[in-house]
């Protein structure tokens, strides 16, 4: 089974999908570890768990797990469930059957960002602090100079980078050797962060519509400008050769193989969509990429052929989150109106 955008079916019909309407904005979505369940984080405190198979009828909605908004959600690297964070200051581990256990409660803080690593670690931002959940333990890192506005694991899961005012901080997570945190400075507010899939680069989006990228080993940095809006979504390709960025009308990828992107324009490809991309998500295995727009349009691109196809037409509801199934055949999509979409790309 493979996805081939040259197949004329992509031009004739939209791919099979399941759309479930709710009345709360979707802040995040994720697949679980084995790809059997997809979950959506909603603005009314619910985490909706649905079968990833779009033909299996979805279960009834369960009671809200968070009081307030569920702001962040990842697949649990240690089970078939999920981990969620809310503006109630709680981090919950949610089992596949929907039952939840509390991992953290930080009254008055918002759990805005969660990341997971396949070694079993989960990291959460809570105000100026970062919390690490691993082997049944919770450890706190920080405080940072300001609220943590983005975080990510290194490739091997041994470090976490946190974005904040004035730059980023990289924490070594080892309990055996206590290494001091490394600070990489760049003035201003950093609003998103992604560590490259090969571990060599850390990219941030800034309040001033730029991208900032550090080479971790050399501690040198570079800046990419020219975006009309803040770049809040960054996604590295599985082979770490490209960094995709939101806030453009077409797929926009900075090349990081060879000498890197300095002095080069980004690679831009695909058909211009309606509006600007709000979320971009590189395929977990191959050269595909999904892009959701502020107009609600959804596109699938292929960097090898520089082609793109429409997966969903614009409908006025901005796409807020995207997640690929681990096998890369399904795509979860949420928007600010509350539609929970799961697209099956096998055709």
């Amino acid at each position: 089974m493979k996805i081939d955008l040259a197949n004329p079916a992509w031009q004739q019909t939209l791919p099979p999908a399941r759309s479930l309407a709710t009345d709360a904005p979707v802040a995040a979505c994720a697949f679980n570890r084995d790809g059997t369940t997809v979950a959506f984080a909603l603005g009314d405190g619910q985490v909706r768990l649905l079968p990833a198979d779009i033909k299996t009828p979805p279960p009834e909605a369960a009671a809200p797990l968070h009081k307030g908004v569920v702001l962040s959600l990842v697949g649990d690297p240690t089970s078939d469930g999920f981990v969620s964070g809310g503006d109630d200051g709680r981090v919950l581990r949610i089992a596949a059957d929907g039952t939840a256990t509390e991992l953290l409660a930080q009254k008055g803080k918002w759990i805005e960002h969660l990341v997971a690593h396949k070694t079993g670690a989960v990291a959460a931002s809570a105000g100026k602090a970062m919390f690490l959940f691993r082997d049944g333990e919770v450890r706190e890192f920080g405080p940072h100079p300001s609220t943590v506005a983005g975080l990510d694991f290194s490739k091997d899961g041994s470090r976490v980078a946190c974005a904040h005012y004035g730059g980023i901080t990289v924490w070594s997570l080892s309990k055996d050797v206590a290494l001091p945190p490394r600070r990489f400075a760049w003035q201003g507010s950093h609003v998103a962060l992604r560590w490259s899939t090969d571990g060599k680069f850390i990219a941030t989006g800034t309040q001033e519509n730029d991208i900032h990228v550090w080479r971790v080993a050399q501690a040198t940095d570079m800046r990419m400008q020219g975006y009309p809006a803040k770049v809040k979504s960054l996604s590295w390709t599985a082979d770490a050769r490209f960094l995709y960025t939101s806030s453009q009308p077409v797929f926009t990828a900075w090349p990081f193989s060879g000498k890197g992107p300095e002095g080069k324009p980004p690679l831009q490809f695909g058909d211009e969509g309606a509006g600007l991309m709000t979320v971009v998500a590189a395929h977990p295995v191959e050269g595909f990429v999904a892009g959701g727009y502020d107009s609600g349009e959804l596109q699938l691109g292929d960097i090898r052929t520089r082609r793109s196809v429409v997966l969903k037409m614009a409908d006025g509801a901005a796409i807020t989150c995207l997640a690929w199934s681990p096998d890369g055949f399904k795509l979860a999509v949420g928007n600010d109106r509350g539609d929970l979409l799961t697209v099956d790309l096998r055709r």
């Binding site: 908004v69 702001l71 105000g127 609220t147 506005a149 201003g188 309040q207």
Partner: protein
């Protein structure tokens, strides 16, 4: 200059004032009175707020400098995040109240609503409301620049605790306030008692009324200004404004003098335009939109207001006249 629409944008009221002036009392009144509205309240610390239906969010007053190297271009990053987060809620709000700490400069809060595109799309700054303790105002002016700045930024001033001062003292306090900011609306209050309609969702920031009345400066006696003293002035014109020349002049003025200009606002009669053109700025940042249409036979005059330090009225008047047809 960006044009912003006002529909569907949640009105934001910024509440400033020294510690103990009566901000918390006012907030508690807003939250406990039966008005059928739902507010999100952004406070620095969970105080003694009696909150039931509304939402209280803790903010950290995280101010950052923009990367342009200018010290007046500062923004509250925590507010950007909080407003983004509030918009993810299923429940929508009729208004947002932002309380600042007693010693806060209102600049970064106000500038947040001019700078961030996401915030601008979702909210509009309705008014900056400053609560002043009539008894302690002069003492607070001595302690630093904050009390003066809070008056300078205000659209609405609650001159509170009037029962604790004599009529003579009150007159002096009001004179001093008027010396800094002639254009704010002042309400005399005790225990922060004011009709909430007078301060919430009034569109005070979008000017209409405020610029139409020129407060007469009855008991001024304060015409002698020190250079660095904060004061306010207005300039007017009856000839139509050339929009290109105005934009160039105002852009250059704010670039050079923006640090000294706390607030600027204006209504312009643009040459050939059927509507008023209104703008408002905080330091170097500004926002503008088309306002109400001119009526048949109405005198189409323009008026600009500046509140700040080192203001040279004659120079400003001359500069503005260069922008007229």
């Amino acid at each position: 200059m960006a044009t912003s629409q006002t529909s569907a944008q949640v009105p934001v009221t910024v509440l400033t004032g020294y510690l103990g002036a009566g901000k918390t009392t006012l907030l508690n009144r807003i939250l406990s009175e039966q008005h059928g509205k739902k507010y999100a309240v952004i406070v620095n610390e969970f105080g003694e707020l009696g909150v039931d239906n509304d939402l209280v969010v803790n903010a950290d007053e995280e101010v950052f400098e923009m990367n342009n190297g200018c010290i007046c271009c500062t923004v509250r990053g925590d507010l950007i995040r909080i407003i983004e987060g509030l918009m993810k809620r299923k429940d929508k709000f009729d208004g947002i109240l932002v309380e600042t700490t007693g010693l806060a400069d209102p600049g970064p809060v106000a500038q947040t609503f001019f700078t961030d595109d996401d915030v601008k799309a979702r909210t509009r700054l309705d008014a900056i409301v400053t609560v002043i303790d009539a008894k302690h105002f002069f003492g607070q002016l001595e302690q630093g620049s904050e009390a003066e700045q809070q008056v300078a930024f205000a659209d609405v001033i609650l001159l509170n605790k009037t029962d604790l001062v004599s009529a003579e003292e009150l007159r002096k306090v009001e004179d001093r306030i008027r010396g800094i900011n002639r254009y704010a609306r002042i309400f005399h209050t005790q225990k922060s008692q004011v009709e909430l309609d007078a301060i919430l969702d009034k569109g005070a920031f979008d000017l209409g009324r405020i610029l139409e009345f020129e407060p007469d400066f009855l008991h001024s006696g304060h015409d002698h200004h020190h250079e660095d003293e904060v004061r306010s002035l207005s300039i007017t014109a009856d000839r139509p404004v050339d929009p290109d020349r105005f934009q160039k002049w105002m852009g250059a003025l704010l670039q050079i003098k923006g640090g000294d200009i706390f607030r600027s606002k204006g209504i312009l009669a643009i040459d050939g335009a059927p509507r008023r053109y209104v703008y408002q700025g905080v330091h170097m940042m500004m926002d503008s939109a088309w306002g109400t249409p001119w009526k048949e036979g109405e005198t189409r005059s323009s008026k600009l207001v500046f509140i700040g330090r080192n203001l040279d009225g004659d120079n400003l008047q001359r500069g503005f006249e260069e922008c007229l047809k």
